[in-house]
Amino acid sequence: MIRRLFIANRGEIALRIIRTARRMGMVSILGASEADRDSVPAKMADEVAIIGPASSAQSYLSVEAVIAAAKAAKADAIHPGYGFLSENAAFAVATADAGIIFVGPDISSLHAMGDKLMARKVGIEAGLPVVPGGAAADKEAARARAEETGYPLLLKAVSGGGGRGMKRVDAQQELDSQIDLAMAEAQAAFGDSRVYVERFIACGRHVEVQVLGDGISAIHLGTRDCSIQRRFQKLVEEAPAPAMPDDKRAAIELAAVNLTRHLNYSGAGTVEFLVDAETFDFYFLEMNARIQVEHPVTEAITGVDLIEQQLLIAGGAALSLTQDMIQPLGHAIEVRINAENWQADFRPSPGTVTRAAWPAGPGIRIDTHMTSGGEVTPFYDSLIGKLIVSGATREEAVKRLGSALEQLSIEGVDTTRDLHRAIAVDERFIAGGVDTRFFEGLAA
């Protein structure tokens, strides 16, 4: 049983984890950088351990610094949140070596899903359909792969994630230059220049399935649709995936559970699929072996606290939920409020938040670490909060999203609020079931 939980993260997710840990009677210890010493999570945690300077390379991304702080704090478990070290197998190994529980899946699952090639291989083994494509170690191999897949295609870093280093190539003549760029970026960001060449489904939707496993049994908590993205960064997420035939939805959910079982997966995970927006054929992309930014929409429709489930399973409990007990209700939508000037190419907008007025009321949930007087530092990502609305129907949720955004007011820094206001009144969004080209259409 976990008594002292070390949180190796920052921002809204750190606060989110602290809340559940407290309810479960755990002592929360926040591992914070110097820059986050006075953050809201630092004030809310039972204890704070400074893990290093502002630079994430020396703090939130430093395996040694985090492990040393967790050991010094006598933590018996580490929750890595999302991003940073959350899917870093070496970190999970170091945690286990220090005699501390890693709140996440087994190291074998992290390895299996750690890079896209391995994930694809494991997906095929588990019987999941995958997009035509393959890895390429150099430019020559990439050209050969492109011959197989056809255009348009995507180049992705084999070791990458979160959309970084991803390139779309529409025609053969662009291929060489884009490969050079993609490989260079992959090398710089992930220390691995290999790229993955994949057929690009022009009219595709990003649909993912939340799963839970305890190493023996596995269940799903329904779908999420994250098709509204900009440069592969998610902007809006909703649950369940709208405008999708029931049989196709059930097939995707079943595929996700099959993969989870195949991996003897333990903890919370997300299985991502590319869904053809017209035929609803689906292709397995990858599995994220961690909590997701968009987990609250699933919590809203299922009533399951996913952080609690992670902590229970990590503490050694068997999964008490059965598939029959998951009875989704209503519809939920999350929008990410980033401190960015969305009209100036989403340029980050660090500074002091002079006023933070978040909406409240029935069907509204706010996950944020930002209050009036808070600092948006230039060191980390620009997410300052998430607005999650839910309603008995999607229509009700969309309506609530519009009115909640009207109430939301952040002063002192630029935010993406007005972008979301534009999305909330977009006819395609209101109709539901948009594909990943939505954002281009919005800008036009």
């Binding site: 309810r23 009677g25 606290d305 229970l312 409990a317 008490s320 209700l329």
Partner: protein, 489 residues
């Protein structure tokens, strides 16, 4: 030896102290993870009447409540208490209907059932236990419901337990003393008498602390080889509830026992319930003074207060002693029903009619007629023949004999449609449709509750309900905020 604890705060504590309407789903979900951490043997969690209260009073879906509690509590079994073949309605239900009830309860996470038949009818208990086991893997605990009467002696209880031992579906037993009548002397003979016939199946003790006996008889029982003691946590213990948990743990340790719980977590849980009780205005259970007359009449405080008030309203306050004496007489004539719901109300109302009416049993409630007709099960002792014929010799008794039983499963399905999901169907079959509608339209229950914020939310709701108010003053020691509406831009 090691003693386990069973926490009754959310079901019996809530019922004994707060009329079963004290706690909603959010209150319970907020306590779930801490309750799990304490390491109770089980949690006395709900019953069909608590499920009805959830719907009627809070618009909380009771099935969802079970599911979400279970999700947060992977190790501690959630317990459901039942009289066997009834669900919310007073009539005995179609066995197929009960089978579906037990299936859905277990599918949602109930892992322990208490079979409480106040009539101690062996076949009824065995049959219900059999259905439960066919529908899942929950354990089944049979209640030996304690009372003081001419028939309920040690031999009676041992005989009942022995008869139930014939069923492989009864996993364990407990002495259930709902009125807190069991003395230390009595537990010294009763517990060994039961243990002698139940082999290696466990025996627990559930002794209400109404007279202060519960804490002492439970401690005595710990010496006699019982496996678990039922307790209420913080404000959910003592009074007419079960002994308070932290005090019980301290006393058990003092007596040299090991207690299989996390005391730090128990202290945190106790603190949560205290803050909640304060915020919600729920009176905490308090240790009660000994009342010798209670051993004779066994009339619980709530019922006594009601009868006293009714007599006073009739200008007959001075007849209270007569009514109490008549209650003892009526109880004997009706075959010593055990004074658990609904029988105390039934017996005492009859005593009141007998005292204020022209003749005894001139006026008889429908419930008493149904009782003597065996519609609540077979009375433990035969009903006095003269009383029986007096009660049945009236036209209304004929009407109640002809009264329709609980509808068959097939008829209910026909009424409510074949496609409606099982959980909604079970509620609609036994509850007014508008209450079920209101529950469904209220959506999912809240998942969290913060006692410190609750009064503020209540205040804001009250303010929001009065849009026309022109003056609002908030006053507390050292603070006064006055808002007055006037001209505005």
């Amino acid at each position: 030896m090691t003693i386990n604890l069973v926490d009754v705060t959310m079901r019996d504590g809530n019922q004994s102290l707060w009329g079963a309407t004290g706690l909603n789903t959010a209150h319970m979900l907020q306590a779930a993870a801490l309750t799990e951490r304490v390491g109770f043997r089980a949690v006395d969690f709900t019953s069909s009447s608590h499920m009805a209260v959830a719907v009627r009073y809070f618009q909380n879906n009771p099935w969802e409540r079970i599911r979400r509690m279970r999700a947060a509590m992977p190790t501690t079994p959630l317990q459901f208490i039942t009289t066997g073949l009834r669900f919310i309605a007073w009539q005995q239900a179609d066995p197929d209907f009960m089978r579906l009830v037990y299936r859905r309860l277990q599918a949602n996470g109930i892992r322990r059932f208490v079979m409480l038949d106040p009539m101690h009818e062996v076949p009824a208990v065995i049959e219900a236990a059999r259905i439960i086991k066919q529908e899942g893997e929950a354990e089944v605990m049979a209640a030996l419901t304690f009372t003081l009467s001419d028939v309920h002696d040690d031999v009676f209880y041992a005989g009942f337990a022995k008869a139930l031992m014939a069923s492989p579906d009864i996993d364990l037993f407990y002495i259930k003393d709902p009125s807190g009548l069991m003395s230390v002397d009595r537990v010294r003979t009763l517990a060994p008498a039961i243990k002698a016939v139940i082999g290696n199946r466990s025996l627990e003790v559930h002794a209400h602390n109404t007279l202060g006996f519960g804490a002492l008889s439970s401690l005595e029982a710990a010496k006699l080889g019982i496996s678990a003691i039922h307790v209420g946590v913080g404000p959910g213990g003592d009074g007419s509830s079960l002994p308070e948990a932290e005090r019980m743990v301290a006393n058990l340790i003092e007596a040299g026992h090991d207690v299989a719980i996390d005391r730090a977590a128990l202290s945190q849980l106790s603190d949560y319930w205290q803050r909640l009780a304060r915020a919600e205005g729920l009176p905490p259970g308090t240790p009660q003074g000994f009342d010798a007359s209670f051993l004779r009449h066994q009339i619980a405080g709530g019922v006594m207060t009601t009868i006293k008030r009714q007599l006073e309203e009739l200008g007959l306050g001075h007849r209270l002693a007569d009514v109490i004496a008549e209650t003892e007489q009526v109880r004997a004539e009706l075959g010593y029903p055990i004074m658990v719901t609904p029988f105390p109300q039934m017996v005492m109302s009859q005593a009141l009619f007998n005292v204020i009416g022209d003749r005894r049993y001139a006026q008889v409630s429908d419930q008493v007629i149904r009782y003597v007709l065996g519609k609540f099960g077979k009375p433990t002792n035969p009903v006095d023949p003269a009383v029986l014929s007096t009660i049945l010799d009236r036209p209304h008794a004929k009407a109640l004999i002809a009264e329709k039983d609980f509808p068959s499963m097939a008829d209910l399905r026909k009424t409510f449609g074949a496609t409606i999901n099982d959980e909604e169907f079970l509620l609609r079959a036994v509850m007014p449709g508008d209450q079920v509608d209101a529950m469904l339209s209220a959506g999912r229950s809240r998942a969290s509750y913060t006692p410190e914020v609750a009064p503020l939310i209540a205040l804001l709701k009250q303010l929001a309900a009065r849009p026309a108010a022109r003056d609002i003053v908030v006053e507390r020691p050292g603070l006064r905020i006055a808002l007055h509406s006037g001209a505005s831009l």
